[in-house]
């Protein structure tokens, strides 16, 4: 059975040049694939190419088995939602949402009934008679989603829908996205540079690397547990990256860094990087453990964790992430015990 969206060997243009040379991906109906990538990595260009808003350099895009690569945007069954919701300012909210139904020549009364139903599903039926310009940010997103769902798309493309929102509205729109997913059988692609958005909305995550290649899609939890490569791990943005070297101790590979050694099964000897999440290590004040003693040179508090810069006797530095309640202060001598790490070759 063919996937709802099947992209094969797609070349994506950045202006006049090919920015992403060969992308392949499939998304089944009802699934949401998050494409995670740094700013400027071509996420939006990928979506615009899929939607037909810019030409593909090469490759094939199929929707429900139908090749749509050369078709106009309106013929593809793919709805694209811009980062900022684009509502038609001359129409009311109801007319905006009924727009896809009206252009399909559905009777006005039936179009309005369905539009109201969709607005209710996304909990914005209370603003049905308002002008689009009178809505708040979260309402605009919900209305744009309701309108997209009224088009009954086979594929729904979401271009960083949460990136410009403040935290309160963000949670609101995440809920709307989940409601939209539940209400639609569409194959959805969400592009973002925010892991929390992926975790909240997506069923699978893929990443765009520096070379323009997509990583194999994985569930959010599987990807966090075992990112396939260092570049992906760094893109996820939740790991401390500890630089060191993998050495063989008999038949066992060990990763050595300024804070000690970590078991590194299957790692290749040589310069390496260990990726460690904040809950995967412990920072002990004092020198009672069998581990090198480090000095804390800086502490940076973030919302959910603390970043500590540590230095050994030789002056070598590292940054570790630990839980936000840690009492460790600058100038204290600490020992770091790593319980779990992902080891990647690298410098």
């Amino acid at each position: 059975m063919s996937a709802t969206l099947d992209v094969h060997d797609l070349g994506v243009l950045f202006g006049d040049r090919i920015g992403l040379p060969s992308l392949s991906l499939t998304v089944q109906g009802g699934d949401c694939l998050a494409v995670l990538g740094a700013s400027g990595s071509g996420k939006s260009s990928l979506l615009r190419t899929l939607a037909g808003l810019q030409a593909a350099a090469s490759g094939r895009i199929a929707v429900n088995g139908r090749d749509v690569t050369m078709l106009e945007p309106e013929q593809r069954g793919i709805v694209y939602l811009h980062q900022e919701p684009v509502l038609f300012p001359q129409l009311s909210v109801m007319e905006n949402v009924a727009f896809p139904l009206v252009i399909r020549r559905i009777a006005k009364s039936e179009a309005q009934r369905r539009a109201l139903e969709m607005l209710a599903r996304l909990q914005v039926d209370g603003v049905a008679t308002h002008r689009a310009g009178a809505l708040s940010g979260g309402q605009r997103h919900r209305v744009a989603l309701a309108r997209a769902l009224c088009a009954d798309p086979a594929v729904l493309l979401l271009d960083e829908p949460l990136s410009s929102l403040d935290p309160g509205v963000r949670g609101d729109v995440r809920e709307a996205l989940l409601a939209a997913r539940a209400a639609s059988g569409a194959a959805t692609i969400l592009v973002t540079h925010d892991l929390d958005d992926c975790m909240a909305v997506a069923t699978h995550i893929t990443t765009i690397g520096a070379g323009g290649a997509l990583s194999a899609p994985a569930t959010p939890s599987a990807l966090l547990l075992a990112p396939p490569m260092l570049e992906v791990a760094q893109l996820l943005g939740v790991y401390a990256t500890l630089y060191g070297v993998v050495e063989m101790h008999g038949s066992a590979a060990m990763f050595r860094w300024i804070g000690g050694v970590i078991a590194a099964a299957d790692a290749t000897p040589g310069a390496s990087v260990a990726c460690v999440r904040s809950h995967e290590l412990a920072v002990h004040v004092g020198d009672q453990l069998q581990a090198p003693v480090l000095t804390v040179t800086a502490r940076r508090d973030a919302a959910h964790e603390v970043l500590l810069d540590v230095r050994d006797l030789s002056g070598a530095m590292a940054t570790v992430r630990t839980f936000s309640g840690t009492p460790v202060q600058v100038g204290e001598r600490v020992q770091v015990v790593v319980h779990h790490a992902r080891i990647f070759p690298g410098h």
């Binding site: 939607a51 106009e72 038609f88 252009i103």
Partner: protein
């Protein structure tokens, strides 16, 4: 200090009011009076014969009809041409945009006599010298220039995401124009048509040079009456020239008020 500023503001306002309304008031009074000469402060009698003659005199009626035909025709055709031209240029490369803007500006900025001589030669070579069609083509040149600049400005600030959203929701090109573009363009279109009409309506030099005196329009009649010393008739004709301009302005403003928004 504050009172001096206030006085200055009041004086400026009165001066502006006088400059804007005094000629119009003078025209109104002159058009309704006969035999009003210096040093009489007020006209000796009121008389509407100037208006009657404007409607009844066959030559003036033809001139009025020609002016209306040329104005409406120029407004419609220039808008129909300038809208897609301005849009295509605005959405094109910077070089194309600048070239189109330069050409449009040249049509507007060239002295009417210089433009008229060039146009006269072109229109003569087409066999349209001294015809209404020839004059219409001549009026189209500055009108198209003005209107292209108007639409170039509109579409340079245009939010193309509206059309993208409509397209991916399933609207084809015709639907996008009908349901998204045209409703949002009501105000610029009204403004452009008003401008196109007024460019033609007030045109003297091009009409004279290309029409060769065979095509009579209201501005030419007014000039002729003025030269002949028919002040009352000249004032009536001049008012008749001003009224549509004021009406067009009012209609264009109403259309603007009714337009919900211009995407930008």
């Amino acid at each position: 200090m504050r009172s001096r500023e206030s006085l200055l503001r009041s004086l400026s306002f009165v001066a502006l009011l006088l400059f804007a309304t005094a000629p119009l008031l003078m025209l109104i009074v002159t058009s309704l009076s006969r035999g009003w000469f210096y040093p009489a402060v007020l006209p000796p009698s009121l008389d509407a014969s100037g208006w009657r003659d404007l409607v009844n005199d066959p030559a003036r009626r033809v001139a009025l009809t020609n002016s209306l035909l040329l104005g409406v025709g120029t407004a419609i055709v220039a808008t129909l041409l300038a809208l897609p031209l301005g849009r295509a240029a605005a959405l094109s490369t910077r070089a194309v945009r600048r070239t189109v803007a330069l050409l449009a500006f040249a049509a507007v900025a060239l002295p009417p006599v210089a433009l008229g001589v060039g146009l006269q030669l072109s229109v003569l070579s087409l066999g349209l010298g001294g015809t209404l069609m020839g004059v219409f083509l001549a009026h189209m040149v500055p009108a198209l220039g003005y209107l292209t600049l108007v639409f170039l400005g509109v579409f340079t600030r245009w939010d193309t995401r509206l059309e993208e959203a409509a397209a991916t929701l399933g609207a084809d090109g015709v639907m996008r124009w009908r349901l998204v573009l045209l409703p949002l363009l009501r105000r610029p279109i009204a403004d452009a048509m008003a401008l196109g009409f007024l460019v033609s309506w007030a045109q003297v030099a091009l009409t004279l040079l290309v029409g060769g005196g065979a095509v009579r329009t209201l501005p030419l009649e007014v000039l002729a009456m003025l030269q002949a010393g028919q002040d009352q008739h000249a004032a009536t004709g001049a008012l008749a020239l001003a009224i549509p301009a004021l009406l067009v302005l009012a209609v264009s403003r109403t259309a603007a008020r009714d337009t919900a928004a211009v995407a930008a």
